[in-house]
């Protein structure tokens, strides 16, 4: 049969996706245990998520949650740090720890035949870290050294300046890593108290997934975590009650990096919380605006102008309203032109050039047809499930995603663009070479640029 190259082949019907069954239990101590069977490869993964993160750092101790989570694998239970990592190595373990504003997530994967051992080691780390002084001083010094190295990393400088200017004293105004004065001052007692107060069964969910039965996975978790009796009562933390920060006084900020080959850009303002009823409409808006390769922002700044290797936008959905941000690294000489194009796109999608039927169809289809890809590996499924736990999403969340996205129409996209992107409030942060950038800045009409001190 010869090939018809006059037109692209039709897709036919979308395949049916069977969503993995998540079985949910709650142990007597209040810990939630979710299990997912996934037999593709002989691996299991245990994900422990604490639903508080860097946002609960005390105002004078940015970095406390992160250094506490960093101490978890520095020895626990009967094992010192070396013995713990030796044990992890012997089961083919992969330990990954992440800290965000809203959550601390530890994931331990191992060969399936070692599921019990993996669960026990994870429980030791989460429940019984040794918090030894020698380890603490070493870990603190490594984090201070990391801060020193980040002084030369433009994306890190931009992220930090953007968060600080946008959120100020709000819990989202600092990076999880913290600051030098705070890390210098933090004590082991503070770490121990943080661990005692925050690591309580009611804040923790353990998601076990992989090549084992629901029963075996649940039993492995219960054996390891079931005897846990918390030392402190969990006090309720409600990020949605935190007052949102006022808009920053300056709309343009420049951090001078002499000789920089590119300018690192962050343009945005406070966005929306994950629980917004407009979530699906915002996801569709973003994919059209800057959420994938063929989005308006990338096609303009990269494929039309050649200003950058890539540009994108995102709504960072958190428990409280996270940032909406456009993010790109552009050739120094065209910095102001790139910002003007970006600002124009952010304005245009609200009305002057609203989303078209073709863009809407393509954006929705990319989201819905691409959805099955999120359910290939046990760890992907666990991470998806963790989102349900973190944001209190309904049990049928996965199966309602596609119909809800398909229900978003052009009017909804334009409405959320108007409501959630406000050009008069956008903050523009530029990390780049002042000599190359500053002369053209008045063309932005954003007022005088506040010059940021290097950190």
């Amino acid at each position: 049969m010869s090939v018809d190259r006059a037109r692209l082949p039709a897709l036919g019907a979308d395949p049916l996706l069977r969503f993995p069954e998540i079985r949910r239990h709650t142990l007597d101590n209040g810990l939630r245990v979710w299990t997912i069977e996934h037999a593709a490869v002989p691996l299991v993964s245990f994900l422990a998520m604490l639903s508080t993160g860097a946002a609960v750092d005390p105002p004078d101790r940015p970095g406390l949650a992160a250094i506490t989570s960093d101490m978890l694998d520095e020895g626990c239970g009967d094992l010192d740090a070396m013995e713990l990592h030796d044990a992890l190595g012997r089961i083919g373990g992969h330990l990954d720890s992440e800290i965000g504003s809203d959550a601390i997530i530890l994931t331990l994967s191992s060969l399936a035949r070692y599921a019990d051992r993996a669960s026990a080691l994870l429980a030791d780390m989460v429940l019984r870290p040794r918090l030894d002084a020698t380890d603490f001083h070493r870990v603190r010094q490594l984090r201070l050294n990391r801060l020193i190295q980040l002084r030369d990393l433009a994306p890190a400088l931009a992220d930090r300046a953007f968060a600080r200017l946008l959120y100020g004293e709000h819990p989202y105004g600092h990076m999880p890593l913290g600051t030098e004065p705070s890390l210098q001052a933090v004590t082991l007692d503070e770490v121990a108290r943080f661990h005692r107060m925050m690591f309580t069964p009611s804040r923790l969910v353990v998601i076990a997934a992989g090549d084992a039965t629901h029963e075996a996975l649940a039993a492995a978790v219960e054996r390891a975590f079931g005897t846990w009796r918390p030392l402190a009562e969990a006090h309720h933390i409600d990020p949605t009650a935190w007052p949102l920060p006022p808009d920053p006084p300056d709309r343009l900020a420049l951090l001078h990096r002499p000789g920089a080959a590119q300018s690192e850009l962050r343009i945005g303002h406070v966005g929306a919380p994950r629980q917004t009823p407009d979530y699906h409409a915002l996801v569709v808006l973003n994919i059209v605006l800057g959420g994938q390769f063929v989005s308006r922002i990338n096609m303009n700044l990269r494929e039309d102008k050649g200003y950058t290797y890539g540009a994108r936008t995102s709504f960072d959905f958190r428990r409280a309203a996270g940032p909406f941000v456009l993010n790109a690294s552009v050739q120094s000489e065209v910095t102001v032109d790139a910002v003007l194009e970006a600002l124009d796109e952010l304005q245009a999608i609200r009305g002057p050039r609203p989303v078209t039927a073709a863009e809407l169809g393509a954006g929705r289809a990319a989201l819905t047809r691409g959805y099955p890809r999120n359910f290939e590996t046990a760890e992907q499924i666990s991470r998806g499930a963790a989102q349900l736990a973190l944001f209190d999403l309904p049990d049928d969340y996965f199966s309602t995603f596609v119909p809800k996205v398909l229900a978003v129409d052009e009017a909804a996209v334009t409405r959320v663009a108007e409501q959630y992107i406000d050009p008069s409030r956008l903050l523009t942060v530029i990390v780049g070479d002042r000599e190359k950038v500053a002369p053209a800045l008045p063309r932005l009409n954003l007022g005088a640029a506040s010059e940021l001190a290097p950190v």
């Binding site: 070396m82 373990g93 190295q149 002084r151 890809r373």
Partner: protein, 436 residues
């Protein structure tokens, strides 16, 4: 670990590999062209990668960009270039497999009619910005270029990085693109792997339908590269960069991918510097705290490999101290070999890493990419179990011997990467190098 597959070679020489995995309704399409930056010549570096960009700009029968129809069909897609090969992949829902094959075959057969000066100039700017973002504007970003240039003679194709020299990228011309395409983008120089929720018969039928009509073309010229002479003396270099903490790179020549001693050196790297229990992490970071980070790796490529150890000095500590501690650890390993717990750990980790890599059908890594790697480099897509066996067979004695054979203290390059204006922080006797 058995990954069943079928191989079917079309008349034009294209290998089609199919692996069924019905766990998730997706299929990975993974296409390797056996061409990379090692097929370039001095003065024309960076070209294979620039060319890869042009493959996403449309072809004769769909000339509106490569991404649009595929992203609209729910695909994730990308491509990458290294010294030895260029790969392109899509992970698509099952109903878009035919679309992906239509698109891949159209750019394999009919790229040039759609090529324009405007596309070419645009992507040249994009690539220059990629170079600025990932190398020029990034701390320690020039280390790789300095090291490769020191490790190989200037006419050896591994002496430059895949991203290439900025002046070479600027000097590239549209005519070069045409010649490159006609030389290397041939069915017989490619390997197509399809892995996922598709039956083998259908997959081969579809691949045949879309690719069989393409002409096989001439065999690409062989790469001319004499094996680099191994160093007979230590070479010390210093490079200044916008960094706060000095970093030391120690590099040795090492065996090619899948060659004898390759697996052993992988595990030597694991024992030396992977994880907190590794020898160098323990002594340099954990106990003495002279380093903030440490890494070691066996980087095996088609013509030859390099083994490297990288350590960053803690504030107030010197690269001289790091070099001495690393030398001691390597010498000790060569003298006594790994101990039984180290062997047990590194073999368990090797097995687990192998399984982790094969969790997905595609993307960067995953089963389809691995099938192509085995097929292109050794002509055996079913090499999985034998590959793992290379690691199972490693013994304390064989690790000790390979470390002694390859990691000699007098046959290596030491690169001190130091903050600007502080060449005094380099190892004694280092000669300055310039990279841009």
């Amino acid at each position: 670990m058995n990954i069943p597959y079928s191989r079917h070679t079309l008349d034009n020489g294209l290998d089609v590999l199919v692996h069924e995995d019905h766990g998730c309704p997706i299929v990975a399409v993974n296409l390797w062209y056996h061409v990379g930056s090692k097929n370039e010549t001095p003065g024309r570096t960076g070209f294979a990668h620039l060319f890869e960009h042009l493959m996403f700009e449309g072809s004769q029968h769909y000339n509106k960009g490569y991404f649009q129809p595929l992203q609209e069909a729910g695909a994730l897609l990308n491509g990458s270039t290294n010294a030895d090969r260029t790969n392109y992949w899509e992970v698509v829902p099952t109903n878009a497999l035919e679309l992906a094959l239509w698109m891949e075959s159209d750019r394999m057969g009919y790229l040039l009619p759609a090529l324009t000066d405007a596309k070419f100039e645009n992507q040249r700017e994009v690539v220059l910005n990629e170079r600025r973002q990932n190398y020029e504007n990034r701390p320690y970003g020039f280390a790789g270029m300095a090291m490769m240039a020191a490790l190989y003679p200037p006419d050896h194709p591994y002496s430059w990085m895949t991203i290439g020299a900025a002046e070479d990228i600027r000097a590239a011309r549209l005519d070069d693109v045409r010649a490159f395409f006609q030389t290397y983008y041939r069915p017989a120089n490619a390997s197509l792997a399809l892995a996922g929720d598709v039956d083998t018969e259908t997959a081969i039928e579809l691949a045949t339908r879309y690719f069989a009509e393409l002409e096989s073309g001439d065999t690409p010229p062989a790469v001319h590269a004499t094996a680099p002479a191994r160093y007979t003396a230590e070479r010390r270099l210093v490079l200044e960069d916008r960094v706060e903490l000095p970093r030391l790179y120690i590099v040795w020549h090492s065996p090619a991918i899948f060659a004898e001693d390759d697996a052993e050196l992988d595990l030597v790297a694991e024992v030396l510097a992977s994880g907190k229990t590794s020898r160098l992490y323990r002594s340099l970071v954990y106990d003495d705290r002279m380093a903030t980070e440490i890494a070691a790796s066996q980087n095996s490529r088609e013509l030859s490999g390099y083994f490297q150890v990288v350590a960053t000095a803690a504030p107030g500590r010197t690269l001289t101290q790091l070099a001495r501690a690393i030398d001691d650890a390597v010498a000790h390993f060569i003298d006594e070999g790994p101990n039984p717990p180290e062997i047990e750990r590194c073999q368990a980790q090797a097995e687990a890493n192998f399984v982790y890599r094969l969790q997905t059908v595609g993307g960067f890594g995953g089963k389809s990419d691995q099938l192509n790697a085995y097929n292109v480099f050794i002509g055996d897509p079913g090499f999985f179990e034998r590959d793992l066996d290379r690691y199972r067979r490693v013994t304390a004695t064989s690790m000790q011997r390979t470390a002694r054979d390859w990691l000699a203290p007098d046959r290596r390059v030491l690169l001190s990467l130091v903050p600007r204006g502080r060449p005094d922080l380099a190892l004694a006797g280092s000669e300055p190098v310039a990279v841009s």
